[in-house]
């Protein structure tokens, strides 16, 4: 039993990794793909193709719309049918490039073979340029452009690269499957990022409910020539995969409020990002695929899947390939049950960071009736940031932004532990998120004045 974990709070939901045994299957291409311009955190990408243009798989179709932004590539070959607003999974309009699929003809210069390339290029800038050109973004949930994260501001020095294989969200198994099936590629990707950051110590953190992945990683590391990479089994506890929590578990350091991980010398990357880095640098293959879990507590075992999808596939297409919405499903979630987003519009297209389609039954997901706070303190015990959600909610109701800031509402990572553990079903996080938005607005206005 590993004892390594973060120090404050946390909860222990049933991990329900129902699809852990399902090997990754490749989804066939649909007739139409809708590529969102908001695939990543930061400014939306700007389309550089016109309606009627012929595109090939892997061709750049949109370029970064700002410093924090990323390239977007065509997920298939075909014709651009339209560039227009389309509803995302929350039902809000986002510009999408619609591509009528005609085949899967790749652009030139991409290595499509399965041979493992283990030689690490000497040129640090070359690796960064490839990562940027291939549109790699963080696949752990935040979709922050990877080349920005790997290139810390002058004056800050990375000391440790943490590869996040915790996959602490219940149900999700996509990271677990790639750790089993693409083990060596992930390690090469880690070695590439290690090189970029200056041969730093590299730790692959994996929760111990995935012993097969830990075993596979250790075996692969022994066979590969890289130095300074180790596997660290972590205790199963949510949110172990939260960036700040993982840094605390691995390095015993805490990122100061408002600070970036690099301020304590840490860079955290997801294992799926590492795989994308490998493909980008060693194969020149842009990020147009990712692995997504189709799972849920109302889905029979034989209908659970892990799929390799192309970005732009509508969720409804994947749902129909996987046999339709199962009986008893009351809520569809994209992402894990703790931090994922409810799917309001199943016609929405997948994006780089899509990690699951999760079907939850009415009884498991419907919130209980809200009642009075009984001051049990469970929310405060569960909060991994050491906040007091019961107090924050009260202050938000009173509209006291100064007190909210003094009580660190802006540190909330929105992990959902407070609401998960509240016996009175008070929508703590719903209100705290709003409070956070307002307080962040006040802080930004103040900083702008200075």
């Amino acid at each position: 039993m590993s004892k390594i974990t973060f120090a404050i709070g946390g909860v222990h939901p049933d991990d329900a990794k129902l699809s852990r045994g399902c090997a990754i299957e490749v989804l066939p291409l649909p007739e139409t793909l809708y590529v969102s311009m908001a695939q990543h955190l930061g400014a939306p990408a700007k389309p550089i193709v016109a309606v009627g243009d012929k595109v090939r798989t892997g061709q750049v179709i949109a370029e970064p719309g700002g410093f924090i932004s990323a390239f977007v590539h065509s997920p298939a070959s075909g014709t651009v049918k339209s560039i227009s607003p389309r509803k995302d999974l929350a039902g809000n309009n986002v510009t999408h490039i619609e591509i009528a699929v005609e085949g899967d003809e790749w652009v030139d210069g991409v290595d499509l073979s399965n041979t493992l390339v283990t030689d690490i290029p000497d040129d640090r800038q070359f690796i960064l340029d490839r990562i940027k050109a291939c549109g790699v973004v963080g696949l752990g949930g935040a979709t922050f452009p990877t080349h920005v994260k790997l290139n810390p501001a002058p004056g800050s020095k990375a000391e440790c690269l943490i590869l996040n294989g915790a996959e602490c969200e219940p149900y999700l198994t996509s990271d677990f499957r790639i750790m089993l099936e693409r083990t060596k590629e992930i390690i090469v990707g880690a070695a590439l990022m290690q090189k970029v950051l200056g041969d730093v110590r590299t730790v692959i953190g994996i929760e111990e409910n995935k012993p097969e992945a830990i075993e596979a990683m250790r075996k692969a590391l022994a066979e590969l020539p890289y130095k300074g990479i180790e596997v660290l089994p972590l205790k199963k506890k949510y949110p172990q995969g939260g960036e700040k929590q993982l840094i605390q578990a691995v390095m015993h350091r805490e990122v100061a409020s408002g600070g970036l991980p690099i301020s304590v010398g840490a860079v955290v990357q997801n294992v799926a990002t590492s795989l994308a880095v490998y493909e980008a640098v060693q194969k020149n293959k842009p990020l147009i695929t990712n692995v997504l879990t189709v799972t849920g507590n109302c889905l029979p075992t034989e209908r659970q899947h892990n799929y390799l999808f192309r970005i732009g596939m509508p969720l409804s297409y994947i749902i129909s390939v996987a046999g339709g919405v199962p009986e008893g499903a009351a809520k569809l979630v994209s992402g894990g049950p703790m931090m994922g987003r409810a799917i309001a519009n199943p016609d929405a297209a997948t994006v780089k960071g899509s990690s699951s389609i999760l079907y939850l039954s009415e009884s498991s997901t419907r919130r209980g009736t809200e009642s009075m706070c009984i001051r049990c303190g469970r929310c405060a015990q569960a909060c991994p940031m050491g906040l007091e959600p019961f107090l924050l909610r009260r202050l938000y109701a009173a509209g006291d932004l100064a007190a909210l800031e003094a009580n660190a509402v802006q540190d909330c990572i929105e992990c959902g532990c407070c609401l998960y553990s509240c016996p009175a079903y008070i929508p703590l996080l719903d209100h705290i998120r709003q409070a956070k938005v307002q307080v962040m607005g006040v802080i930004r206005a103040r900083n702008a004045k200075k």
Partner: protein
């Protein structure tokens, strides 16, 4: 399809389930009290629980005009605790008045569950103690289902301290008191039964042990110091821990969510305060016990403690 902000799942815990756990934890002590005090105790328990539930239901329905909160079982917990805090000979109409004060005055006037400053059951008990001292200090032992010939009647162990002197009183407390301590409130016959319930609450993660341990430690340390200084005047630690409702109060009354501090260190301070006040009342006050008063006094300090003590926050000093 349902749409909501995250999280999309919930721990299998609700106010009701927590209260149910408290009820289960109280069962051993309740059963022991039934065995020793027989039908009269069963009647007290029935009247207490029934009045608490009916009063809460009636107040929410007819006075506050809002959905009933009796479903959360907290009124039952209050009813059981109140009955456990009364002598087994208490007249039933007095029990009803206690329930009325507990629910109507201490709980619902503040806004119901979660809003009250004082522990309802203790408020009810203290009201009765002050208003009806004869009934509340009548420690005659009624006929139970188990023979209890060796029982005292007339006064509790603590009540006998002025009569017998501290040295003699200390001798009355031994291992057998831990299992069976006749004379006193109905619920505190068996320290063992109470501690079993407390351990159940800890195992089920309903409460944290810090408040209770802090009370025990404070009582033990203060009693030890005074006892060492003058054994003839001050009773010893074991005597003070096992008598006068310290265990019942520390395990089930002081740990009430609503009227105790939220943070760990706040809980420790709160427990220390209770232990300190109890010992001061016992050694220097006119009431022989004092657990109820100590908890009520510290209830008042809870908002202050909560303001001062917070959890450690990530990334902040």
């Amino acid at each position: 399809m349902i749409v909501s902000p995250n999280p999309h799942i919930h721990a299998s815990v609700s106010t009701r389930s927590l209260m149910l756990d408290v009820i289960i934890a109280l069962c051993p002590a309740v059963i022991v009290s039934f065995l020793y005090y027989g039908l009269s105790e069963i009647a007290i328990m029935a009247v207490s629980v029934a009045s608490c539930v009916v009063l809460e239901w009636a107040i929410t329905k007819y006075m506050l005009k809002r959905p009933s909160t009796t479903g959360d079982l907290s009124a039952i917990v209050t009813g059981i605790l109140l009955a456990m805090n009364l002598p087994p000979t208490c007249p039933l109409w007095v029990v009803f008045i206690g329930a009325l004060v507990a629910i109507a005055v201490a709980k619902m006037t503040f806004g119901g569950i979660g809003q009250n400053i004082f522990n309802p059951a203790i408020t009810g008990r203290v009201f009765l103690l002050v208003s009806f001292p004869t009934f509340m200090t009548d420690w005659t032992v009624p006929a139970g289902f188990i023979s209890n010939v060796d029982a005292f009647s007339g006064a509790t162990l603590l009540g006998q301290v002025p009569v017998l002197g501290a040295l003699e009183a200390d001798k009355l407390v031994g291992l057998q008191t831990f299992f069976r301590n006749i004379g006193g409130s109905a619920g505190e016959i068996s320290a063992l039964a109470l501690l079993v319930g407390w351990v159940y609450l800890l195992v089920r993660k309903v409460i944290k042990p810090w408040i209770t341990l802090s009370i025990f430690a404070t009582v033990a340390v203060i009693a030890a110091v005074f006892h060492l200084c003058d054994p003839a005047q001050f009773t010893g630690p074991l005597f003070n821990l096992l008598t006068g409702g310290v265990i019942l109060g520390a395990c089930f009354m002081a740990t009430d969510y609503v009227t105790s501090p939220m943070s760990t260190w706040g809980g420790v301070i709160y427990g220390f305060g209770i232990g300190f006040i109890v010992m001061m009342i016992r050694y220097f006050g006119s009431y022989p016990e004092g657990m109820s008063f100590a908890i009520l006094l510290m209830n008042m300090a809870v908002p202050l403690i909560d303001m001062k003590f917070h959890q450690r926050k990530y990334g902040r000093k």
